[in-house]
């Protein structure tokens, strides 16, 4: 019976049924396809409301990401660690020939900062970011990374509720334990729909016992720059008294 139903579905798909067609979305794990872009997104998002308004699509043609040397460090690649929290600096260098140099440091007062500056078109020679986890030299971020920066900039421009306020209002805290994942949802044209940041927050009462656990709460950044909190819930609960093991059937 079920297989006959499948046949009907197949025929329907062939001939086309009005109303059945729906925009298809898919999820992309940015950590996997663009680790540098994910790193940058994770650094920017907590300070999205500080992003400069001059960041626009037309001057993000060549944006590079690099782990930047902090003051006092000796190597080319920065790395600072305070307790269990992770602090790093990044440079975003939008290529905007002839438009002059602008600089802005986000969170400059803290040990973690994001530096954004306009540079010249020499940046075009910087190689594109690859899916290599070990790439640490400057590289141009991917289109997905660019889309996330633009969404975050929209947040700043729109003076929307800040992530910090939203987290506080929901009674959540920042999570410094879980793996940080950036999951991007795009439509059939690869246009950004929203970005989910996993492992960024957790509830005060949530028990995350196992070392690879992550919170049910996820920070979502919409393409219009709005933040929201998503709670992931199990789609079905099981009553152990009602199940039969295969050997009991």
């Amino acid at each position: 019976m079920a297989q006959r139903l499948l046949f009907v579905v197949c025929i329907s798909a062939v001939v086309g049924v009005p109303g059945l067609s729906q925009a298809q979305t898919r999820e992309i794990l940015l950590n996997q396809v663009d680790p540098q872009g994910a790193m940058l997104a994770l650094a920017i998002v907590p300070r999205a409301n500080e992003l400069p308004s001059w960041i626009r699509p037309d001057n993000l043609n060549n944006v590079s990401v690099e782990a930047k040397q902090p003051s006092g460090a000796t190597s080319n690649v920065s790395r600072q660690s305070v307790g269990s929290s992770i602090k790093s600096q990044f440079a975003i260098k939008p290529d905007a020939p002839g438009s002059g140099q602008r600089n802005l440091k986000l969170g400059a007062a803290s040990r973690s900062s994001v530096e954004i500056s306009r540079t010249d078109d020499a940046l075009a020679a910087v190689p594109a970011c690859e899916a290599s986890p070990t790439q640490q030299a400057p590289c141009r971020i991917t289109d997905l990374g660019k889309a996330i920066i633009l969404a975050a900039t929209s947040h700043a421009r729109g003076k929307l509720t800040s992530l910090t306020s939203l987290i506080a209002a929901r009674g959540l805290v920042l999570d410094d334990r879980s793996t940080k994942r950036v999951v991007v949802t795009v439509d059939e044209n690869n246009a950004l729909q929203h970005v989910d940041f996993v492992g960024l927050v957790r509830s005060r009462t949530e028990k995350l016992d196992a070392p690879d656990a992550s919170s049910a709460f996820v920070v979502r950044l919409g393409r219009a720059g709005n933040f929201s909190i998503i709670e992931r819930r199990r789609d079905a609960a099981i009553d152990p008294s009602k199940i039969k093991f295969v050997g009991e059937e």
Binding site: L29, P35, L42, S88, K180, D212, R232, D239, V246, G247
Partner: protein, 390 residues
Amino acid sequence: MRLLLLIQFAFFSILGFTPAVAQPAPVPSLLNVSSFMMPPRSSWATIDGSADASVTVTEHSGEGDVGFRVFHLRAAVKSTKQAAQDLARSKLLQPGDILLSFRPSWDKTLAYAHMQLGVSHSAVAFVVSEANDRFIMTLESPISYSSPLNYPEHYSDLDAIHVIRPTLTDSQKRNLEQWGRLILTKRGRFEFFGDYGVPMYKRGIAGVATPRDEIRYLAEIALGRKNASFKSYCSEFVWNLLGLRDCNPTAFDASCIKPIFSTSDGMLTGIIPKVSGDAGLVQGPEAALIGGKVAADRSKAILTGSVFVDVLTNESQLAGRMSSGHIKVAKDNRASMRAVSGYYAMGEPPPMAAQINQGVTANVSPTSFIIRSNAGLDGLRYVGTIIFDR
């Protein structure tokens, strides 16, 4: 082309026939990891293929005779009961199978993560039904994770799951199911223990002084004979449960206890030189390379140059690949990893292995199950790796 495929699918649907043969294909990008993380083909279980079109099977090769057999599920079913239903219909999993949470993102990071072959967690799978709805149900520690693969705080962010199969008779499967039911009905008695470096038999629990005592302790708590909690980390729980496979709970006698690993105490030490007849906690990569028939000099180069080395140290980048807890454990074990690298660099001298083992407490990690499978030990077989990419 699309029309042709749809008609073909419709034809198969009417006939009740499902194409099931594993297809060779390019390695899915998610599983494009170093070959030492792949199981040797000699360790693969024989399977019949998928019995349901919702799960397809492909096979992939790495360097040497290693690779993945991939069970492709739909992306939309990740962390939903539907995934457990699809897998049950596929008949690719059996009661008592061990599920290992595989983190491909651990590849090319820290030596300790490489040594663990990217495995962060373990569970036991059962096939169950509820009102004619058949699905896979896990039993694991934390006990709250026990679910039809839909516990959000674990399965939402789990991209790949290895399936390792112990050799079990029907009677052993039924015994495990009965223990599973007892544990599920006493969920409140099961707690997670977070320090993987201190096995239960080293925690000063009265009557639990050896690994075998742990298995008896589990039985006594499940049977309600002990008014205590069973506190275990994930692999400890799986190891103890499988140790009861010969025990019928309706007539429990401790003489039936049999650890799943055939070592002297049932748990693993650190290193067995050349993986001869045994395999230790650090030898997953070595066992994969040996099983994969990789030449000795090449194996040595991989072990000293790619496995037991920290490749990625930028903490911001690491934060996108593993939890701070795992990063801390990896850092805490840096000196040990250097010692193991030195052991391989010196040609695996037995006295050095003995010296390293002196600092190792016999234990069982989630990786242990695939280490033993890689080494062809204890009847453990690699079945496949579940991903959600369709």
